[in-house]
Chain length 406, copies 2
């Protein structure tokens, strides 16, 4: 059996993701699709709209064969760390193919950009430092540095190009035997908030269209029926979907009761931002208003959102610095193909495979996952709070007996 | 002018407190009554039913002339520290009389008990240590040690005798020129939950009778009309009164996301209780169920409740150890008599008088008060959360123009 990997968030799973899976199979000739998926908190520092379990079911229904959790310590990070954790997990699973969606759609552009970076690293780094010194944000300084290097056939101001670049770079830096491939994303860009295609729209635009009270029919054309079903069931069970505003009271409580010294221990708290956080929080009545009041050129919306996720989950610099690479492979779900693939590779797995969360107690990466789980569940009133906690620890990996057609 | 002090919580103010004030005036011949009052969190580790401001208004309406805040770092403590902070504040205000209610009602019993303790300290301490070693709680070991010393005319298993004893001891240890006096409490004991007197009932029984949905009419016979009015207004403004259950989601969030190491820094976390807290919290759906599941012979309900208040407000051992004595006199309210008294003593005040909270920023005692304020306000949804925070910082001391008759 041959496996191909995808690195995903599925927030929620939509037709563009379906297309990505079909193209991945076609391009790689793989008979097993492995998705490395963020858990309950996502790369941009947001809580996922529904839990990892509901999103795992969406993925399995769409034909993913194995769903593996990307631990919080890699999932809620800028592109470089995110990519590092994800490709290391694929490698540990014996997966030799990675296929990602990008605005570019041309893998040679990525390979050449990474080669340029390795060759001209000093020059590049000094351009980035100069940008930072001029008060630019990291993403801005990076994009600018690329522009100044010239002749790079990759637009690194586009978010999915940035991620793809990070994957290719991580593969090469880790000297992994993984072949990277890319397919062009269809129609909607990540940040697109309009519906310009009859069946493809970005996850962001879908979440916006949905809101908290939104009718699922409004987005039915853009998602498989299994996604609609999972979203519907989740709201039935838990009363609502997740968004940052649900967590704002906890964030406010924490920012007001933590000392500046304690905040400085949190990952991402640099350059005195702790004073600004404490200064802006008391009068803020919503998360959106708080971030709008706090953000600066250097502290972009995404960076602040990620930092707030770290404050909320009490993720410290010390924990971040210790998280060099994945220490386990946590199985969230599989179908028969996935099961057979695991059977085939299990003796060569580079990391322990964990089906039950209880086995991971004490692992520093999983300890942070537990904190993130506690926060994610805290959005609910009792007895749902306790029930959601229990789900994390008691749920066996989802086993799906077949693929649903959309 | 002659001042007499009382040390109070007024949770809420009731007819027994009224009686205490009348007797204090009679016994001391004072023309100015000073109440040192706990802020939003109380000695037994509970949030006050209504804010310090509402309770200040109750006190002023009943004829208290000056209301001074007992800072959190003394207010939420076992009897000894509580008494220490309170009598030092009275002393700093030039107050030379203290009158407390007790089950005993006989000041010579207190004086003789304190003298006994000073004379037989070693013996007493070794009896307490032996009790603790047998697994007894502190209050139990203390009461037992007294019993074993014999011939002490004071029942130190009674809560108000314990507090009174602590006041007298603190006065003597600090060598303060304060005359302690006591009056017998009427009818209901602190822990009484029944109504056995036509107009006097304990604050505990009143809160129980009231509940969250309770009709004020049910307790009208036991409280002055000003108390009823404050309770009514508070619920109109904020939607509810305060109790521990409102804070349980925050406590659960905090206990689940703090590491054991972080919990060990919290005041009152000793002997490995942090493991037990973390073990019991995940499945607990209410505060009451959590404490019931967690308590042991050594960790009594009150001790755990106080410890949970410290977890919630992030009050550390380091902060506790630094809090040797009050560093300011915070004025919560006054009437004309109180104003004139302050005028008279202001040149001899042993501590700075603070009418505005903003002036106290940076004072370690007030920094903890701010954390407690943030927690207390966190019980409300926005925009009430922000409004309650603002109330703490923007409210000038309450000025009352006259005494209301009950």
């Amino acid at each position: 059996m041959k496996a191909a990997g995808v690195i995903v968030e599925y927030n929620p799973f939509h037709n563009g993701h379906w297309h990505h899976l079909q193209e991945t199979k076609k391009k790689t000739g793989a008979d097993c699709l492995i998705a490395v998926m963020s858990g309950n908190f996502l790369q941009r520092g947001e809580p996922a709209i529904v839990s990892k379990w509901a999103r795992t079911k969406m993925a399995l229904a769409a034909g993913v064969d194995l769903v593996i959790e990307l631990p919080y310590v890699f999932a809620v990070q800028a592109a470089e760390q995110f990519a590092h954790g994800a490709v290391r997990l694929l490698d540990a699973l014996g997966c030799r193919e990675l296929c990602f969606g990008s605005e570019s759609g041309d893998i040679t552009a990525f390979l050449s950009a990474v080669e340029t970076l390795f060759q001209r690293k000093e020059e590049f780094d000094s351009l980035v430092r100069a940008g930072l010194a001029r008060g630019q944000s990291f993403p801005k300084a990076n994009a600018e540095a690329w522009r100044q290097l010239g002749s790079v056939p990759l637009d690194l101001s586009k978010p999915n190009n940035v991620l793809g670049f990070a994957y290719v770079k991580a593969i090469q830096q880790n000297k992994l035997a993984i072949v990277p491939r890319t397919i062009p994303r269809l129609a909607a860009g990540y940040h697109d908030e309009s519906f310009s295609h009859p069946s493809i729209a970005s996850a962001t635009s879908l979440r916006n269209a949905l809101g908290q009270t939104g009718q699922l029919e409004r987005i039915a054309a853009y998602i498989p029926s299994a996604t609609a079903e999972q979203l519907r069931q989740y709201r039935l069970t838990y009363g609502r979907w997740h968004d940052w505003e649900m967590y704002f009271p906890l964030l406010k409580y924490r920012l007001l009761t933590a000392t500046e010294e304690e905040l400085r221990r949190i990952a991402g708290v640099e350059e005195g931002i702790e004073y600004r956080l404490k200064q802006k929080i008391a009068g803020a009545e919503t998360f959106a208003a708080f971030i709008a009041a706090t953000k600066t050129k250097r502290y972009t919306w995404t960076r602040l959102q990620r930092l707030c996720a770290h404050v909320l989950t009490n993720f410290t610099k010390e924990e971040q610095n210790k998280a060099m690479a994945p220490t386990y492979i946590r199985l969230l779900g599989m179908n028969e193909t996935g099961r057979r693939y695991l059977q085939q590779v299990k003796k060569e797995l580079a990391l322990p495979l964990a089906a039950k969360a209880a086995k991971l107690n004490g692992d520093p990466l999983y300890e942070q996952e537990k904190k993130a789980t506690a926060v994610y569940a805290a959005a609910f009133p009792e007895p749902l709070y306790s029930a959601a906690l229990k789900e994390e620890y008691a749920t066996a990996p989802i086993y799906s007996s077949g693929i649903e057609r959309k």
